[in-house]
Symmetry: C2
Subunit: 394 residues, 2 copies
C-alpha cells in the first residue's frame, strides 16, 4: 500500500522521541520542574536581538516581492556574496557568491551532498560518536554508511580504525567538529593527518575522496580553541553549515553548502548539488532568512550561557565521580556511563528524573549524552541527583 | 566521481532557466522595459499587509526560543490546530491538528507524498498539461511517471485517455486544480467522475489508489467559481498545499499535507509521510512562518491584480486572433500556438521580445504558457506585439 521503508523510518520511535514522550508523562506525576531533561539539542539561548532588528528592518524597507519571492535555486545572489565575504574575512579564503549554495540548514546540506555524490556501492565514512541521522540520510541515497570506532580517550579521530574502513569504495568522509555528542573539536594536527591520508588514498584509488564538514557548532567553541577551517587543508572539501546554533534559529531552516574553487571539478560538483537539491525539493532556501543571515553573518554569537552551563555540569559530574572528556565546543557532555550497558544506565538515571541519551545511539556505547542547552537552574539542581545516581554504583 | 543522475538533473538547463538567461542578455540590447517576460510563475502582488504585521507582532510578543526553535517533525501543534480549524470553517471538514503535516511548501509536500507511497513498479498518473517537475520528483523515488493526454477543448480531465493509463500498478493520481499552466478549475462533475472511477478501480485491483491534490492556486479562482475540496469526494485523498501564491510567500517555503481520518489507514500513511519527510530532510517546516500562516489562515487573498491582468491579456489575445480556453484560476493563460510546433512559435515570439513557454514542457504541445503575474503595464504594452506576431501567421 505504501513504501515499507518510509513507514519504518517514520514509525520507529527514536530514542529521543521516546524520551520526550516519557518526559511528558512523568511531568504529570512529579511536576515539570522536577524533570531534568538533558536529551534535546534545542538551543535555549534566545536569537540575538540583531536578528529581530534585521527582520523588522527588512520588512519595513525592502520590497515584499523581493523579500518573500522565489530566489534562484542556489539562493539570493546578494546573500551569497555577503556570506562569502564574511567567510573570507574570518578564514582568509577567497570565496565569492558562486561558491555558496544556500540551503535549509545542516541536515538539508549534508543530505544534498550525499545525494549529489553517492552512487550504489559508494561508502560514506563517519567517525563515532556521530549524529545518528547520518546513517539514514546516506542509506536513502542508496549508498552505504560506514562507522569508524571512537577514540574514547579524547574523541579525536581513531586513525588506526579509520585505516581499516577506508577503501576504494569510499566516496566521502564526514567530519563533525565541534562534535555532537562529544563536544570535541578536531585539532589542527588531527585535520592535517586526516587530509594527508585522504590525499594519499585519492592517489592510491585513483579517484577523489570528498571531505564533508558538517559544522553547525562552529561558533560554539570555548576558551578560544581554534576550529580549523577544512577547505584550507584539503581541496575536495564541502562545508555544510547551519545558522541553527550560532544564531539560535534551528526552526528557521537556514544554512549553506560551500563548494570551493579548489574542488576537483567545480562545475560538475555544483551541478550535481543543484540536481540533488532539486529532487530533494530543497531549491530556494527560505528567502527572508537568506537575507537576515547574510546581513548578520559574522556577528558574534553569545555562548556565555552554554559555557557557564558546561562548567557547572562538567565540574558537578567530575565531582560526582564521572569520567568525561572536557568538551571544547557544542553544547553536550559525553561522559562514560557508570556501567558498561549505557542503555541500562540511562534507564536507571530515570529514577532521579535525569533524562539522558545512551551513547549507543551515536555509535559509541558505554557513554551517555547530556545536552546542557537548558536552564542553568535545572543543571544546578540536577547535580545532587547525579551524585545520588553515582552513589548507587559505588 | 559524482552521481551522474544528479549531475544531469542539475546541469540540464530548464526551458524557463534558458528563457531567464535570454531575457537578461536581450535586456542589455533592447532595454529591460522592452522585454515582455511571461515565463515566470513568481507572484508580483506583495504579501498582504497582515503578514508583515503578524510577523512583527510575533517577534515582539512571543518567546524567541519558541518562535525560532525546533518544532516537532510534523509541525508546531498550535499551528496545526489553527490551520485545521480554518479548513473546517471553509470546507465543512472535521480535521484536527493531527491531520496536518506542516511542510516547506507544495513541492516538498508532493515529493514527500510520492516518496511515502511509491515503491518500485508503482505508477503515478498526472493529467496534461502538468507541472513539469512532477516527472523528476516521481522518478527520483524509483516510481514511474505516467502522463494522460490533455483534453484541449476545456482542459478538464480526458477520461478516455485516463482509462488507457490507469492499471494495477497505479499508486496515485495527481490533480492540480486550479491548474498550472491551463488555468482550468476541475468542475464538481469532473471530480465526481474521477472519484467514481478511482473507487471502482480500487475494487478491481484490490488495493488503494491515492488522489494527491496539489493545490497551491486554490485561492486564485475567479468569478466565484467553486474549487471542489477533494477529501469530500474521495477518502484516499492527500491534500498538498502551499501559501506561496495565496499569501505571495513563494520564497518562504511554507505549506502542509492534509491526511484525512477517512484515508485507508491513517496511522500507517502518516508514519510513511513522516519517514519520507525525514529522509528528504523536510522535518520541521520553517518555524516563524508556521506561526504566521496559522494565524493568518483563511484571511482573504487579493487576487484583483491577477484578475485584471487576466482580462487584459485574454481579451487582447482573442482580439489578436489567438484561440484560448478562458481560465478560471491560477495566473496563467495557455493558448494554442499559431503553428503546430509550439517551440518554433515561441522562438518566433522572441522577435517581439515576447518570452513564452512552449506547451511541450507541460506535456501539451501546440500551446504556450503566458504567466500574467507581471506588471499590468507590461501586459498592456505587449498586446500590439502579440497582434503583430499573429499577423505573421495570417
Amino acid at each position: 500500500m505504501i513504501s515499507k521503508e518510509m513507514y519504518e523510518l517514520g514509525s520507529k520511535k527514536s530514542t529521543i522521541r521516546a524520551i520526550a514522550e516519557y518526559a511528558e508523562k512523568q511531568a504529570k506525576v512529579v511536576g515539570k520542574e522536577n524533570i531534568y531533561d538533558f536529551s534535546l539539542g534545542n538551543p535555549n539561548v534566545p536569537a540575538p536581538e540583531y536578528i529581530k532588528e534585521t527582520i523588522i528592518d527588512i520588512l519595513n524597507n525592502e520590497d515584499s516581492c523581493s523579500v518573500h519571492g522565489y530566489t534562484a535555486a542556489y539562493g539570493d545572489p546578494e546573500s551569497r556574496e555577503l556570506v562569502a565575504k564574511s567567510l573570507n574575512k574570518r578564514f582568509g579564503t577567497n570565496f565569492s557568491g558562486k561558491n555558496l549554495f544556500m540551503t535549509a540548514g545542516a541536515a538539508a546540506s549534508i543530505s544534498i551532498c550525499f545525494k549529489a555524490l553517492g552512487e550504489r556501492d559508494d561508502e560514506f565514512i563517519a567517525f563515532a560518536p556521530y549524529f545518528p541521522e547520518y546513517k539514514c540520510f546516506v542509506e536513502s541515497t542508496g549508498s552505504k554508511f560506514v562507522a569508524v570506532k571512537a577514540n574514547v580517550s579524547d574523541f579525536q579521530i581513531n586513525f588506526s580504525e579509520f585505516d581499516k574502513r577506508i577503501n576504494e569504495h569510499t566516496k566521502a568522509v564526514i567530519v563533525n567538529s565541534p562534535n555532537n555528542p562529544s563536544g570535541a573539536v578536531y585539532s589542527e594536527k588531527t585535520i592535517i593527518k586526516l587530509a594527508d591520508i585522504l590525499k594519499q588514498k585519492e592517489k592510491e584509488y585513483n579517484h577523489p575522496i570528498f571531505l564533508i564538514s558538517d559544522e553547525p557548532y562552529r561558533e560554539i567553541a570555548y576558551d578560544n580553541v581554534e576550529v580549523p577551517y577544512l577547505p584550507k587543508y584539503y581541496d575536495n572539501t564541502l562545508v555544510c553549515y547551519s545558522y541553527s546554533k550560532s544564531f539560535s534559529l534551528p526552526g528557521e531552516r537556514i544554512g549553506y553548502i560551500v563548494v570551493p574553487n579548489e574542488i576537483i571539478d567545480f562545475d560538475v560538483i555544483f551541478a550535481a548539488i543543484a540536481g540533488a537539491a532539486r529532487v530533494l525539493t530543497h531549491v530556494n532556501a527560505p528567502s527572508l532568512f537568506q537575507k537576515v543571515v547574510a546581513r548578520c553573518a559574522g556577528l558574534p554569537s553569545d555562548i556565555s550561557t552554554y559555557e557557564n552551563n558546561k562548567d557547572i555540569l562538567y565540574n558537578g559530574l567530575i565531582e560526582a565521580g564521572f569520567s568525561c572528556v572536557k568538551p571544547d565546543g557544542a553544547f553536550y557532555l559525553f561522559p562514560k556511563s557508570l556501567e558498561a550497558d549505557d542503555e541500562a544506565f540511562c534507564e536507571k538515571a530515570k529514577k532521579y528524573n535525569l533524562l539522558l541519551v545512551p551513547g549507543k545511539d551515536f555509535g559509541c556505547p558505554g557513554h551517555f549524552r547530556a545536552a546542557y542547552c537548558i536552564k542553568t537552574s535545572t543543571i544546578e539542581k540536577s547535580i545532587p541527583l547525579f551524585k545520588k545516581l553515582a552513589e548507587e554504583y559505588k
